[in-house]
Symmetry: D2
């Protein structure tokens, strides 16, 4: 069966960060969005560097993001801190400790990427980074194998060693276009901790090799549809699974068309959710582009009456 | 449900080409191998450019390969011609007609790749190539979307148009590392023809979006295990599916370790199958490497008593 | 001839940021390093995200870096601000204005990269970003076409338009593995502004198509050797050019072996320069690795007596 | 200085293969084209897999190609065989021996690529391939490091060993987008044999590190312009060099626009040369595309009066 560790949820959303029309963090809107995700029962990652616009936030905004998110979720669903990484080890630690103090259920730690270019850390640097961070951050941690963002794949041996040494690591997210590598990773560590895929088309293959679920932007728009794929799989109902998975992949296609967070915010707005403005350099989609997304959402019966 | 067109089988093997120790095509060995695959009930592709060493065969050898393969299969399983492509359009047509005359059940047509480098054909060249070939070759044809081999992805619109115009096309194989693109292709044409994936880790996700099965080298070694994944999926039995799929992906890993056809031939030899020598520039794996493969096959209970 | 705009120098160094053994910015060491570069007559970029460890610096450290650098250069060589980018447009502008206020001769502006992953900005976003930044930052600006760091290439039309609209842009740095694209860029804008390459092996081809020079880490270690390549080229002396260029490429090889800033700091230390410690997650090279660099520096006659 | 071994020429053309309007090899046209190249004093590669459409030729056509080419060149310029490779070792040897018997001055040997996909040969396979081929082919041989076509880079140590063991190797062509790797290769073997680049933008940097020249398709269209770049470099005349190199890169741009052999044949036709038809799956450029090429050729003063 597909393992789910602790209080983790099989579906987790990379929650968007809403801005008001003056460009400020919109706390009221954030409460509404987080409340919806918590009601839907999915895990909530705040401030991710992709859909969460985490790289565009100030330190003060990140603190508010976590505080408001934790409060709005009200322990109905786990809230995770994702707006940290890609800087010095000590700055990563400081940000993780601040997030933990804000009450999040876990802090997500990306692989190190000290320069913005693809300077791949050396093996000793990787070992040292995880030791430094996980000696200092003893509250629950989610690791990522973020191949798409950092440009390299964490060695499975390193992940195995870290999981053996640091019990506070309670989940592993993997965004890796190579599904065979994802499957190897799940086989290696899936019995120790839940492994969640970031490429949604991989979800059913991943479940079939012991994966725990997904961390995805589609859950911002259609958390119930994401969960239905998990449930249909576990129910052993191929027609139901195919109906749900096909709809989810159609949603993935349309949300990928203009990349995220652009498309996710446009889709949420169409659903009546206060996703708000994008922060520059991002610009909002044009009306024709949003309308095209709307037509697909309508075909999928995702639009409100 | 997962569509299987006509007499197609959900699992298809890229059959190896056995050579004797003087380097000649070993027809007796070929008969034994094809007989085993036919008995196992999988489709049989002969002379593929990867595992089938098709690029290393002379025209005369290819003719014998098809003739012996068709005879050995004795209509218990379909036999397909795969040793053609990557040359002039007229030479592709001639090779396809010769294969059809040899009695194969279908001829596989790769996308054009006129130079060995990644010179991507232009849209008009693609249209013309498929029109030229499919006006001339009116016996059953399998198309491929061989992204791995040719370096580009066929446009879905082109595939849709070709399928609409040429009813002799009865299957579509796709080897594409991008699973989202595979899923889009299946959604677009899966109701018209069976779509078979070449990246085995994609198999369950592909089934769950309407794919028909796989064309893979793993089926040379463990056709029953490949078929078990299909059956377990269709039976709606997640634990059975996970048991089979995990074993299949472990097999994939070990067969990928030294790339193909090297590893497949070594594994078949360990199983007692007369896979024979590799043709140079390929060299056989060393004894330690073969032994490492043998240990995994033993763990998977694939070795004979 | 190779155009050099204004007070620009043909050779520019991506200056390292020295840390003391407690990990703090070492201002005394910085003064010594900047003084050496200014004496050698090369332009000085401070806090670059690669060799300058700019991504690992706090806002306060960046302010000191610029202030100390400007003071140490004492107008003998131009000093440029490079520790900014890859965040929101308004944060980029604020950092640029702060740098200008600190007295740097120009501020380097990277292409936008709002997420750490390769989310390529859309054309309208690129136009808006440059308009937003260059309407706000009216002091001298250097642009970059940082393909290596940002994962995409700026369209030549955009660069041409920006250069036509904003006279404060006085240089264009390009780090692009595709030399044909570099040459196209130089042909398009080389008469308007100096174009400087970041891939040092491209330098002579770039000079021969009208390029102005280089922005490189090799200049931290051997600024005179870099300048000698320029001078030998302009003198029309092939044997002299070949002697210098071969030495420079040997230096490039050894400095690339363990990537930067690791190797550059090790090499500078061997030369007696106070490059100081690396900031974690970077770790210093091992003694054998540093010794291997030392042997090449000795062969190149770069080591002090 | 830039070394030129034996009778080699610094500029070498990947000669097109002309077909008449019925699609047959046009021997009269071939004579005219080869005569022009021989008169211009450049080396002549026949049947290359890119511009020479070698992959689209039958064995019989290849034999005629070499025979006619050798006869037409009449020893005024060296003629090399390039229509072989990417199949079994023994078939490569047979093709090389046939070419040598046809009187070519050298046979070009590509790195092995046994499958059409990027199955990288293992080190022992590479060693064995070169030993097999070079023990059998004892007439002059040109090696290639064809990264663009085969998808991997030959190790420098292998090239050094092969050059030390087999004196019949008299040139090394390298088509490698990584100029730093090209420079390393030239430094390693440039004193033993001439190294010729395939990426024309690299030419001047390559000359400045000891390279011998180029093997390129631009020489089909403008052999004198290619040679002028070499002469201007050797004369130590930067303005003359820049004038010629800029023109050559403009030519490269326009010939790359629709890829080769399409653009080269269109350009040659505009110049009044009988380049003939393309063989399918290639299709000729449209009239607007050819006209666009013509405008650039006119700007470059390459068109006949």
């Amino acid at each position: 069966m597909t393992g789910v560790t602790g209080t983790g949820r099989p579906i987790n959303a990379m929650c968007v960060t809403p801005f008001d029309d003056r460009g400020h963090l919109d706390e009221d809107a954030l409460r509404i969005i987080v409340d919806g995700l918590a009601t839907a029962g999915v895990g909530i990652y705040l401030g991710s560097f992709g859909s969460g616009e985490g790289h565009l936030l100030s330190e003060g905004e990140i603190a508010r993001l976590y505080a408001v998110g934790v409060d709005a979720a009200a322990r109905r669903a786990p809230v995770y801190a994702a707006a940290l990484g890609f800087t010095s080890t000590s700055a990563v630690i400081d940000a993780a400790l601040a997030a933990a103090a804000a009450g999040v259920d876990a802090v997500q730690i990306h692989p190190p990427r000290p320069g913005p270019s693809a300077i791949v850390p050396r093996p000793a640097e990787l070992d040292r980074f995880y030791a430094d961070v996980l000696e200092a951050v003893t509250t629950p941690v989610h690791l990522t194998n973020q191949v798409v963002m950092v440009g390299y794949r964490l060695p499975i041996e390193l992940i195995t060693d870290v999981l053996a040494s640091y019990p506070q690591v309670t989940a592993l997210n993997t965004s890796d276009p190579d599904l065979a590598a994802v499957a190897r990773l799940i086989r290696a560590v899936g019995s120790r901790t839940g492994v969640y895929v970031g490429v949604i088309a991989q979800l059913v293959s991943a479940l079939a090799v012991g994966g725990a679920g997904a961390l995805c932007f589609e859950a911002d728009v259609a958390p119930a549809l994401c969960t239905e794929v998990i449930n249909a799989y576990q129910a052993g109902d191929p027609p139901r699974l195919e109906a749900a998975f096909e709809r989810l992949l159609i949603l993935n296609d349309v949300l990928s068309r203009y990349q995220n967070p652009r498309s996710v915010k446009a889709a949420m707005t169409l659903l009546g959710l206060p996703a708000g403005e994008l922060r520059r350099p991002y610009l909002a989609l044009g009306p024709d582009e949003a309308a095209a997304i709307g037509r697909v959402l309508a075909d999928l019966d995702l639009l409100p009456e």
